[in-house]
């Protein structure tokens, strides 16, 4: 199966000069479908690669079965380099079918904001390569095809294929005493994708959300949460870091990020310099990330408290989407605190996460911010799962910050202040299949509850309902 996927890539490369990502994406989509069909025909349990490797159920690593939220065992599996178990078929796949219903899809001028409103969509699919390589090295890579990515001049939706999460690591441990030390190196392509606690952004809630093309809501977020206006870092950067877990309780990490170009460009497939739709984001000099956390288990419970910080310097791009050197950058400085609680004892699973991020922005270019700005982001989430099958969760998000006419031009008072609630119910009829219904309910959007844009649109107009079916094989 893997060789077939590779041959598709090479075939795409050998095509005519006109071979573009659409051709490649079609091959990958076919490969994905073939993967799904092939694996489902051979896997009685239909479990992804890690489950095949360890021989264990999804619930061993995922709290209450709600992937991707990790149990203490799942965290150890990741910290030790995904190396538990024996070599197994490393190919997995994931597909999502969903439906997004916006409360008000009108653009106020007789048109609609999105033509994907209230439609069932085969939204996107991913292929994974995951597993141990040696007893000390393992990882996973995810590549995703987004079916509804952008529209051509005639309004036809075009797809896009590109890198998604990637984390390759070397890990070692001192196993001679009960305290122990685990340490390792990580290469990844998105800040915090290497983290093991689900209170940090990359694997934080929501675990699945309406696509930005089907939803009309686009709440502001901090850089480390994926919201940098100057250019997204996910799948555009190469993070190289060192980490340690001391005494099974204190986690320390230092990572530096650089642009995923040249030898690192395998981390940024789909994003490239000069691409009009997917220009590679360029970061300048050092972009450090530090992380500390303390975790403790007692009985069936565990708690984690932590802090993190990151500096990112994002270069401006010229009209051809090439980086401009020597004219400053957009400087993001994010600091955050987070916490997580888990109660794990069948048939009950209770988990909660908290994250607060403070961001300071200095934009030399003034392309994205008119003046030095701040943004504060609070996320709270609680979940209950019964029998690792029936789940309910509630999340609260509150974003506040300084007003800026460039950054928040869609707001009548130039404010980022946004507040929303996210209730969700989900059902896991199979270990690798989740069906869920989620609502995003805005009580404030870009600075106001009503008429936030000065044209009569209210925060609640951006409310949406999101129905999804999420299958991993």
């Amino acid at each position: 199966m893997l060789k077939r996927l590779i041959s598709h890539v090479l075939f795409a490369r050998q095509g005519s000069q006109g071979t573009d990502r659409r051709v490649m994406a079609r091959w990958w989509l076919m490969a994905l479908i073939a993967s799904l069909a092939g694996l489902s025909a051979t896997q009685a349990w239909a479990l992804p690669a890690f489950a095949r490797q360890t021989g264990q159920s999804c619930v061993a690593c995922h709290a209450g079965g709600q992937f991707p939220e990790l149990t203490p065992y799942g965290r150890m599996f990741k910290l030790t380099g995904y190396t538990y178990g024996e070599h197994a078929n490393p190919v997995s796949a994931m597909g999502i079918v969903d439906w997004t219903g916006n409360n008000n899809n009108s653009d106020g001028m007789g048109g609609q904001l999105t033509d994907l409103d209230r439609r069932f969509l085969l939204d996107f699919g991913s292929v994974f390569l995951a597993g141990k390589i040696t007893d000390n090295i393992g990882g996973f890579g995810q590549w995703t095809y987004t079916v509804h990515d952008r529209q051509d001049n005639e309004g036809n939706w075009l797809g896009h294929f590109g890198s998604d999460n990637f984390d390759l690591r070397y890990a070692n441990q001192d196993s001679a005493n009960d305290k122990g030390l685990i340490w390792g190196l990580t290469l990844h392509n998105n800040p915090t994708v290497q983290d093991v606690f689900n209170s940090s952004p990359a694997w934080g809630y929501p675990y699945i959300a309406p696509s930005g093309k089907a939803s009309v809501a686009a709440p502001p977020a901090t850089m480390i949460e994926g919201g940098a206006a100057a250019g997204g870092l996910a799948s555009s950067v190469a993070g190289t870091g060192v980490y340690a877990l001391v005494d099974k309780s204190v986690y320390l990490e230092f990572t530096n990020y650089q642009t995923a170009k040249g030898p690192w460009s395998f981390l940024s497939i789909g994003n490239s310099t000069g691409d009009p739709n997917y220009p590679l984001t360029y970061v300048q000099s050092w972009n450090p990330y530090v992380r500390v956390a303390y975790t403790h288990e007692w009985g069936p419970q565990n708690i984690t408290v932590g802090a993190f910080g990151m500096q990112a310097n994002i270069l401006p791009l010229d009209g051809n989407n090439y980086p401009i050197y020597g004219q400053g950058a957009t400087h993001y400085s994010d600091t955050g605190v987070d916490a997580q609680y888990q109660y794990l004892l069948s048939p009950h699973t209770v988990t909660g996460q908290f994250r607060w991020v403070h961001e300071a922005v200095n934009d030399d270019t003034q392309n994205f911010f008119s003046a030095p700005a701040t943004l504060n982001s609070l996320k709270l989430k609680g979940t209950y799962v019964y029998q690792e099958k029936y789940g309910v969760s509630l999340a609260y998000t509150n974003v506040t910050g300084s007003a800026d006419p460039t950054a928040y031009s869609a707001s009548a008072n130039n404010s980022p202040n946004t507040t929303y609630w996210t209730p969700e119910v989900f059902w896991l009829p199979l270990r690798n299949l989740r069906v869920g219904l989620q609502f995003n309910l805005f009580t404030r959007y870009l600075g106001a509850k009503t008429n936030y844009d000065g044209n009569g649109r209210n925060a609640s107009d951006n409310n949406n309902a999101f129905l999804y079916l999420w299958l991993a094989i």
Binding site: L2, I6, V9, G55, E86, H87, S346
Partner: protein, 213 residues
């Protein structure tokens, strides 16, 4: 894009060589090739993650193994390896250990059985559990547990030590014995627990969890 695809091709070929090789190994090894990690290291880097370095697990999801009867440990590991023990939690967490070698099973049993025995919390609640354990319940045809598991619940060969075990684990296993055939080696327990009420099962589990001071 061209540069990117060059890089992609080489890197994916590299990953394919590594992981593809792994896949081939797995394809020929399934059910055949046994792990060769030293048992003590296996205990320290794998088993310890859930069961604790010395067999004293923190979470009641996972049984304590410290000082458990060696013969019982060998039997359970053998049953997990062969998928003969099929209770849900056993499947979820232990069915992956199909490649344990005989030497590893023996070594793991040696390691955990030789640890300082698990200890209970020593705070008995009520006397129903003690009565059931020591005397049984003749009216319900429940045999005294001590008959096989020992007066102090220390276990005996194939009969596991219960003293100091997590109450939640003991209770759930009693329900497994009572309501399923998922632990064939424990078939006699199905008869013994047949008339055990949920309340009594909990009382028993709470009682043995207090022992072993």
């Amino acid at each position: 894009m061209k540069t990117s695809l060059h890089s992609v091709g080489w890197v994916l070929l590299g990953v394919a060589a590594l992981l593809g090789g792994c896949a081939d190994t797995a394809a020929t090894a399934d059910g055949g090739v046994e792990s060769n990690m030293a048992p003590v290291k296996l205990a320290h880097v794998v088993c310890a993650t859930c069961h604790g370095f010395d067999g004293n697990s923190v979470s009641p999801q996972f049984p304590k193994l410290a000082g458990q009867q060696r013969e019982y440990l060998v039997a359970q590991l053998t049953d997990f390896k062969g998928h003969a023990r099929a209770d849900i939690k056993g499947q979820q967490f232990m069915w992956g250990f199909t490649r344990l070698s005989h030497e590893q099973i023996e070594g793991l049993a040696d390691y955990f059985s030789s640890q300082v025995t698990m200890r209970g919390h020593g705070m008995p609640q009520g006397d129903r559990g003690a009565t059931l354990f020591l005397q049984g319940a003749s009216d319900a045809n429940v045999v005294a547990c001590m008959t096989c598991h020992g007066a102090k619940a220390e276990g005996n060969g194939p009969f596991p030590r219960l003293a100091g075990q997590h109450a939640d684990y003991v209770y759930k296993q009693l329900i497994v014995f009572q309501t399923t055939n998922d632990r064939p080696r424990g078939a006699p327990m199905k008869v013994i627990t047949h008339n055990l009420s949920e309340t009594d099962a909990k009382a028993l589990a709470e009682y043995v969890a207090t022992l072993g001071q």
